[in-house]
């Protein structure tokens, strides 16, 4: 029966080419716009580390002075160096790492080659196992190397290609700024989207190209990047200034990995206790105000998905709604124009249900055609977005779930649009239609 209705639908399309084309075009435009914006939203709101995003947590403390204190306010977004180093030393989670962004000059060995700057990350040993970074060669460094302030570095695949032509560079040395570093590992391609571990600069940027121990970076006074918030004057005599251990400045990102999501409660209590201790010793002034958010909670809190993107999704779906209304109207016109034919079919014994089914199959077929065309438009839309040189452009692609969504959405939408016209068509009294012949 379905095949027969499908055939009838195709015949009907051939009879009314312009009207059919209009319907398919309207659905395709709506679907194309919706899928383009939905894909952007889908990519931007994705889980950057699905295997353990519910076990990775971002602890926050409130180390600022009472100046500017408003009860109920969120604590500092980043940690002070003192607290980060202290929590790292106490090691109360399964894994933990402190980190900050920076930049280093890479000085090629060969004389005459110009040095260049790359973004770097100063972090601690657990960074690599905690974030499951893929390694091409070698691996990360250990806590012992952190403690010894060793000059070791993990390179990105890109930097390894640039400096060592993509070969196994583990054990070789590379000059970063004023110092020689020993390569201990080379990462494979790694692109968490968003770049969740540090949301102070580009949310969707690529990871850094050189990773080295935080302790070493402070020895060498390497340049740091990212935001820093200071709430008091920096003590005059610390040569390290605002990056000193005791500086009243928050600029460190700190992540912990717990064995299970259930342990969050325990760890939160530990943070509270730590905060109380610091208050008792006079370091903290504010009432204890700690947070512990997992990856997705942290991304939501930071509003990583731009508001514009959300608005574009709503806008596109509003447009799809108008396109569907349009299709409802056109389908209605189409079915009622065939009142005679329907009358004949009814008189020959077709039930209302059969007429209804026939109409829905026709609507669904329009939807399918609209979906195919819409997919083309969405692909075109994403291609146009990729041409813009903004940070996320290169990762916008239709994936399999979105492809399936496109077809389900277009067929379901057009069948919904077909409901009212199909209902009206099957309500036609056969006698009336035959009489007017």
């Amino acid at each position: 029966m379905f095949a027969y209705y499908f055939d009838l639908a195709l015949r009907s399309f051939r009879r009314n080419k312009v009207l059919t084309a209009l319907m398919v075009l309207a659905i395709a435009l709506g679907i194309g716009a919706s899928m383009t914006t939905l894909t952007v939203f889908h990519v931007l709101s994705g889980d950057p580390i699905p295997t353990k995003s519910d076990r990775l947590f971002y602890p926050q403390l409130d180390p600022a002075t009472m100046n500017g204190y408003t009860p109920g306010e969120e604590p500092e977004e980043q940690m002070t160096r003192y607290d980060a180093e202290e929590l790292l030393r106490q090691k109360r989670a399964m894994r933990q790492a402190m980190m900050t962004g920076g930049s280093v000059a890479v000085v090629p060995e060969k004389a005459g080659l110009t040095p260049f700057y790359v973004d770097a990350r100063y972090t601690s040993a657990d960074f690599f196992p905690m974030f499951e970074t893929p390694f091409l060669f070698g691996g990360g460094w250990s806590a012992a190397e952190d403690a010894r302030h060793d000059r070791v570095v993990v390179l990105s695949k890109e930097l390894n290609e640039r400096v060592f032509a993509g070969g196994n560079s583990v054990g070789r040395s590379i000059r970063l700024g004023d110092a020689e570093f020993r390569v201990v590992g080379v990462l494979d391609a790694w692109r968490p989207v968003p770049k969740f571990y540090d949301l102070t600069s580009q949310n969707f940027g690529v990871p850094e190209q050189a990773f080295l121990p935080f302790s070493t970076s402070r020895d060498l006074r390497m340049e740091r990047n990212g935001s820093m918030n200071c709430w008091a004057n920096i003590g005059g005599d610390d040569p390290e200034g605002n990056t000193g251990v005791n500086a009243p400045c928050a600029w460190i990102q700190y992540w912990v990995e717990l064995e299970s999501p259930a342990q969050a409660k325990e760890y939160l209590q530990y943070l509270r206790d730590y905060s109380e201790q610091q208050r008792a010793s006079g370091r903290f002034e504010r009432p204890t105000n700690v947070r512990l958010r997992n990856v997705m909670e942290w991304l939501a809190f930071q509003e990583v998905v731009p508001r514009d993107v959300r608005m574009q999704v709503w806008l596109a779906f509003g447009f799809l709604l108008v396109c569907l209304l349009n299709t409802v109207g056109l389908l209605l016109a189409k079915f009622l124009r065939r009142a005679n034919e329907i009358g004949v079919r009814r008189a020959l014994g077709a039930s209302r249900r059969a007429i209804f089914a026939q109409c829905l199959v026709e609507a669904g077929t329009v939807g399918l055609a609209g979906g195919v065309l819409g997919l083309g438009l969405a692909w075109l839309g994403l291609w146009a977005l990729r041409q813009q040189s903004s940070g996320v452009a290169d990762i916008l692609h239709l994936d399999l779930p979105m492809l399936a969504t496109t077809f389900v959405l277009s067929v379901v939408a057009s069948m919904l649009a077909g409901l009212v016209p199909a209902w009206q068509a099957c309500q036609l009294a056969p006698a009336m239609q035959l009489k007017s012949q």
């Binding site: 009207l19 209009l22 075009l25 309207a26 435009l29 709506g30 716009a33 009472m66 100046n67 500017g68 204190y69 408003t70 000059a105 000085v107 110009t114 040095p115 260049f116 700057y117 700024g177 004023d178 006074r221 004057n233 005059g236 005599d237 610390d238 040569p239 200034g241 731009p306 508001r307 514009d308 608005m311 574009q312 806008l315 596109a316 509003g318 447009f319 709604l321 108008v322 396109c323 209304l325 349009n326 409802v328 109207g329 056109l330 209605l332 016109a333 009622l336 124009r337 813009q388 903004s390 009212v420 009206q424 007017s436 012949q437």
Partner: protein
């Protein structure tokens, strides 16, 4: 024009009429709000920075490793830049508008205040910076050479003197001392000692959107002269039309002045501005495309349905024509019908536009939709309706009276 027959016909085609009305209403609601959003973006992109943007280029430079002669090297950099033909003025500055990275500091009116009055963006540069930027001084003076402090000194351990003087913007002056003359007043920001306001510039935007629209011009200049290790941003003001050649020469000069110099960024302020507002521009374009697509789809819907009605009523039209109705009357009939449907859609659409705006106000912190957008939206949709119905209506008018005598 008799409305009754039209209304009674429409009553018999409730579903189809309702669909058209709803489609027009939705289009009207979305278009009104989209136009409002577009105008908001255009306004944002139109904000002046307060600088002579069309005469400025920026070069960001850095060295490798630590440089003990940073202050001296900066001075020679500046001397070389100022010697380039076509250069009016050159300065070093810690942050540049449209660059994104910014220095901010809380500003208080008294030293023991617990909650800051406002957060201002801090510009540090040499004495010539106001001239290089092309700032418009509206009161007081710029910094005297003897007030300038080198960054190396200000940042050295043990130095904790606050900058004695500052230049602020009119917006900041209005917020700090509404209705008063800010010159000579004292504010508390860097360090515990007060800083005296010596000058007021008309406008100077901050490098990013921290603090929202109200705080866009909360900027302050302090007499601390950074060296090139503090971001390394050189701002060069050129004679009109010579930006490109000066930029090239400036990059060349800076690259050569030192053992290892790396140029991190270079470009004109216009290029930086375009990059800064790229997101707004693409959003505005997206909105324009949606509006056009909406209009096209709505028009297609009207054409489709009107054609169907004309076809369905061919015999009825023939009878009317046979009974003496003129072509114009038939034409007017369909035009009036469309006008009625469009009007109903627009009335409903305005209510929906208002509702949609309420949602946007709550969710996207948008201002209230000015009433002006409603008549504009209405006019657009009325015109669209009349244009779309013209074709089918003319086909209807062309139906010959003889049709009435034929049985189908």
């Amino acid at each position: 024009m008799e409305l009754r027959p039209i209304l009674s016909t429409l009553r018999r085609h409730k579903t189809a009429s309702a669909l058209i009305v709803l489609e027009i209403a939705l289009s009207c609601a979305i278009i009104c709000n989209a136009l409002f959003l577009i105008s908001g973006r255009l306004e944002r992109m139109d904000r002046p920075s307060g600088m002579a943007e069309e005469e400025l280029v920026r070069v960001q430079v850095t060295g490798v490793g630590t440089d003990d002669n940073a202050t001296a090297r900066t001075e020679s950099d500046l001397a070389l830049l100022r010697a380039i033909p076509g250069v009016k003025s050159a300065s070093i500055v810690n942050q540049v508008v449209y660059d994104g990275s910014s220095w901010n500091s809380g500003v208080n009116l008294s030293p023991d205040q617990t909650h800051i009055t406002l957060s201002a963006s801090i510009y540090l540069g040499d004495a010539k910076l106001p001239e290089t930027m092309g700032l418009k001084l509206v009161a007081g003076r710029t910094f005297n050479p003897d007030e300038m402090v080198k960054w190396a000194v200000a940042n050295s351990p043990g130095y904790d003197a606050a900058p004695p003087v500052a230049i602020i913007t009119t917006d900041m002056a209005k917020k700090l001392w509404p209705g008063e003359d800010p010159i000579g007043k004292t504010l508390y920001s860097w360090g515990d000692a007060g800083t005296r306001v010596v000058g007021v510039v008309e406008q100077l935007a901050r490098p990013n959107e921290i603090g929202g629209a109200a705080a866009h011009y909360y900027s302050m200049l302090l007499p601390i002269e950074p060296d090139y290790t503090v971001g390394g941003r050189y701002l060069v003001r050129t004679e009109p039309g010579r930006r490109e050649e000066v930029l090239k020469a400036a990059v060349d000069v800076l690259q050569k002045n030192g053992p290892t110099r790396i140029i991190l960024n270079q470009g004109t302020l216009d290029q930086m501005r375009a990059a800064y507002y790229r997101q707004d521009r693409s959003m505005a374009w997206m909105l324009v495309i949606v509006c056009v697509a909406l209009l096209v789809v709505t028009a297609l819907g009207i054409v489709g349905l009107a054609s169907f009605w004309v076809q369905q009523r061919t015999k009825q039209i023939g009878v009317r024509r046979a009974l003496g109705a003129t072509r114009t009357q038939i034409l007017r009939y369909f035009q009036t019908e469309n006008f009625l449907l469009a009007t109903a859609g627009i009335v409903l659409g305005m209510m929906m536009a208002y509702g949609l705006n309420q949602v946007l106000m709550a969710k996207a912190e948008l201002p209230r939709l000015p009433a002006l957008y409603l008549p504009v939206g209405a006019l657009v949709l009325w015109l669209l309706g009349q244009l779309s119905v013209l074709g089918p209506a003319r086909r209807a008018a062309a139906v010959p009276p003889a049709v009435a005598t034929r049985s189908v």
